[in-house]
């Protein structure tokens, strides 16, 4: 096993400076300011005040915790923070040291590593105190380790298998979700949510107010509608109005707080700024030549990488799963029973991007609507091969990008630049030229 390494403060400052110089959106700054404020509140209430909080997966109904005023951290997003701080290599190695072998997914488990590593004070937000409740997919076995370590009860969620896959699922998901998802599958999650609600009520010290939950659901729908507008603007504008790294950061920053008034307001401000930039032809890369899509988990360890090919090639990244799934995956209208609508929202959440047929049909539709010339597809998630294969068959060249989304040990800057450069020169440019001809 390699010795643990930490990112130096100087390297981190340098990355921060570079990031700041690449920032084009005002909402990126307001997001960062809010995150600082939110974190100060979390520190005061939870870390210092001892208020119970939850660690949850990305695919569990955060809206319930929001409605109960239970603070929560999402494991994969906290892992993203670790990666963005260039500490993923260190914490991945720490898991090795604890005996968790290298082939186990680090995507969510960096949060566990931060918790287990009690002696190192250099952590995002100073680390995490022991939570009072855990809820993730049952397949996220690292949560059982966290439960044993923290003593917090673990409510696992088992997603029922999608026995009747509908390739163009996004055309049904907003209104026809009961047909799309299957009532028995929705029932399966509703039953499990009852356990989650009971456990969350216990630490909240109050009962879930369904009217409040319904209001939150409505606000989430409205927030995702702003994202939908942003996607349309990005897809249909002559050139890209905002860099992908900023868009992804913004989307996830807002999604983390979805259902709150702040998230709604921030999403609206985000939409307004993107519209303003498009209306005034403020392009991310005025010399735009090639439009690329990014497929798979966010490259949280190096979001600025997406800007690296603007100057030399005029290549911009116009699309990621994150903005698109916000509008296609989250919106649920006609939610008379908010728990049921929530269950529908999450019953196939994320899986629709992986499941062969579903993931590929969506990727092709997205590629066409965004007028992309090529795709960069990150390795390490199941279903990626069928998505890549389908894109290639649809005439869209794809680069298999061999890095882990969060593990800094897999990153080699020169190699990655060379890979993408070669891909643009050898595949994207000739493919675009052929199409133009």
């Amino acid at each position: 096993m390699s010795a643990p390494t930490k990112s130096s403060d100087a390297a981190r400052d340098e990355a921060r400076r570079k990031h700041e110089s690449l920032t084009q959106l005002d909402v990126s700054r307001t997001l960062r300011a809010y995150q600082r404020e939110w974190f100060a509140g979390l520190r005061e209430n939870v870390f210092e005040g001892g208020k119970p909080y939850a660690v949850v997966g990305a695919l569990v109904p955060h809206e319930i915790l929001e409605a109960l005023d239970v603070p929560f951290i999402t494991d994969v997003w906290y892992s993203g923070l670790v990666a963005a701080r260039r500490q993923s290599g260190y914490y991945s190695n720490y898991l090795d040291k604890c005996g968790y072998h290298r082939n186990l997914s680090r995507y969510a488990a960096l949060t566990l590593a931060v918790m287990l590593d009690e002696e190192n004070p250099d952590k995002p937000w100073g680390g995490l105190p022991k939570p009072s409740l855990l809820c993730t997919s049952i397949n996220e076995r690292s949560t059982e380790v966290m439960s044993a370590f923290s003593g917090a009860p673990f409510i696992p969620i088992e997603q029922p298998v999608l026995d009747k896959p509908t390739p163009e699922w996004w055309r049904m998901s907003r209104w026809q979700w009961e047909d799309l998802d299957g009532d028995y599958r929705i029932d399966a999650l509703v039953a499990q949510y009852q356990d989650f609600i009971a456990a969350a009520e216990k630490i909240a010290g109050k009962r879930l107010d369904l009217d409040r939950l319904r209001e939150i659901m409505d606000r989430v729908n409205a927030q995702e509608e702003f994202f939908d507008e942003i996607r349309t603007i990005i897809a249909t504008s002559p050139k890209l109005p905002a860099r992908l790294g900023e868009v992804m950061g913004q989307v996830m920053g807002i999604q983390w707080h979805r259902g709150t008034q702040w998230a709604y307001d921030q999403a609206r401000a985000f939409r307004d700024e993107i519209r303003h930039r498009a209306d005034n032809q403020m392009w991310a890369c005025p010399n735009e030549q090639y439009r690329l899509m990014y497929v798979g988990q966010g490259l949280w360890q190096n979001l600025d990488f997406f800007t690296e090919f603007e100057e030399k090639y005029g290549a911009v990244f116009v699309r990621s799963n994150y903005l698109s799934i916000a509008s296609d995956g989250y919106i649920r209208y006609g939610a008379r029973d908010p728990i049921r609508a929530l269950a529908s929202r999450y019953v196939t959440m994320s899986e629709q991007m992986h499941i062969p047929g579903l993931g590929s049909a969506w990727a092709i539709d997205e590629a066409r609507t965004h007028r992309v010339d090529g795709g960069l597809s990150i390795a390490g998630w199941w279903g990626v091969k069928t998505v890549n294969q389908a894109l290639e068959e649809a005439g869209i060249p794809v680069l298999d990008f061999p890095v882990d989304a969060v593990d800094g040990n897999t990153w080699d800057d020169a190699k990655m630049r060379a890979l993408v450069s070669r891909f643009i020169e050898d595949r994207v440019a000739p493919s675009k030229a052929r199409k133009a001809f």
């Binding site: 082939n103 076995r141 690292s142 088992e158 026995d163 039953a191 091969k385």
Partner: protein
């Protein structure tokens, strides 16, 4: 220990273990309906009750997978790739129906898509039986609904609803086989059957008619009892595995230098019989309870239910060492290993964790070396390299 003699009961068991589709193809040729099942949580009893011949479809991990390599991601278990390849190649064409179980959900999705694309025209009709493996009341209603859907589908295949008496009859047949399999487990613990032989004797049951299997296994047990063979003097191993033990490579490697695998936490081995299916309640309810509550899959939750059998077996005096087989394809069990290792250590049981792939020669050589080092430390009563490292 036992040696294979052609024409003996054991010879017959080995034949069916090795020629896994032989019985099913014979049934198909004779005009009987054959239903394949992928995974051990699809109740064979219901298939028998529907008047069909059940056969477990197992992966041939040595098979080349040129088509699967195009579509199936390397992160997924090797089983998924080889079964996908078999489906696309038309290996399942003779089946009247194919039922996949929940642990094979990814395979189900890949097969659905390749069929939709018209690139696997020889696939038979297939479905997934999505029995959730966590043992929580929250999933009971869903699981029961899925069982009802399976019964309904099999009823359509049989052209008549499944009768309670037919289900009871099938339960009795499989319980007879289970009783025999438990005797095999006892003989292993007593050093009368090697792990390699036991795996074949137990595994053959997935490919034979239950009545014929119980009879053959009974004859084999009588042969073993009559023989004077005893196990070698090497360490007695309890094996826990991250991958299904559908081939003999690992057992052959572990037993090559005198060790004996006395039990394994896997459906292909010592966990094959489990408890009997109750014949005192509604037969469908009894099957439901059996396949929900008494299965050793990695999806079982909570942890205590998942590990109960393993810990109970590890405490037996007949077990000298616990081996965890965690090949590079593992994405789940590794999270349990540090804790399980510590638990075993506290109970005074030596542990050997194997991270090598028994399907490769290099992996097998490494496994033999590490086991030899452990056996040596056990015989000298010194800590093994792994123990010392801890």
């Amino acid at each position: 220990m036992h040696t294979l003699k052609p024409g003996t009961a054991f010879g017959k068991l080995v034949f069916h273990y090795e020629n896994r589709l032989s019985e099913a193809r014979k049934a198909h040729a004779a005009g009987r309906r054959v239903v394949g099942r992928i995974g051990h949580t699809v109740p064979a009893e219901l298939i028998v009750a529907a008047g069909c011949t059940p056969v477990l479809i197992a992966a041939d991990l040595e098979r080349a997978t040129p088509v699967a390599d195009i579509y199936v991601d390397p992160e997924l278990p090797p089983e998924t790739r080889t079964l996908f390849e078999a489906g696309v190649a038309g290996d399942f064409e003779f089946l009247d129906y194919l039922i996949l179980s929940r642990p094979y959900d990814k395979l189900y999705y890949f097969l659905k898509e390749i069929y939709r694309l018209g690139r696997a025209p020889k696939m038979p009709p297939f479905m997934i039986f999505d029995l959730m493996q966590s043992q929580r009341e929250a999933v009971r209603a869903y699981n029961w609904g899925r069982l009802q859907a399976l019964v309904e589908r099999l009823g359509r295949l049989a052209s008549a609803p499944l009768e309670a008496d037919a289900i009871r009859f099938a339960i009795n047949l499989s319980n007879r086989a289970r009783a025999m399999q438990r005797q095999v487990a006892d003989l292993r613990q007593n050093g009368r059957i090697s792990g390699v032989d036991a795996m074949q004797a137990l595994g053959a049951g997935y490919f034979m008619h239950p009545a014929e299997y119980a009879e053959t296994l009974g004859a084999y047990i009588a042969d073993v009892k009559a023989s004077s063979a005893r196990r070698p003097s090497g360490p007695r191993i309890l094996l826990a595995t991250a991958e299904p033990l559908q081939q003999l490579m690992l057992h052959q490697t572990l037993e090559a230098d005198g060790a004996t695998v006395v039990a394994e936490d896997d459906n292909w081995g010592a966990r094959a019989p489990g408890e009997d299916i109750s014949d005192e309640s509604d037969p469908l309810v009894a099957i439901f309870d059996k396949y929900w509550r008494d299965v050793p899959t990695s999806g079982v939750y909570p942890q205590a239910a998942r590990e109960h059998w393993l810990l109970e077996q590890a405490a037996r005096a007949e077990v000298d060492v616990v081996v965890f087989y965690v090949p590079p394809s593992d994405r789940l069990m590794g999270w349990d290993i540090p804790r399980l290792t510590e638990t075993m250590r506290q109970k005074g049981k030596p542990v050997l964790t194997l991270f090598h792939d028994a399907m490769t020669e290099k992996g097998r050589n490494n496994i033999r070396q590490e086991l030899a080092a452990l056996a040596s430390s056990l015989s000298q009563n010194t800590p093994s390299t792994q123990e010392a490292r801890r």
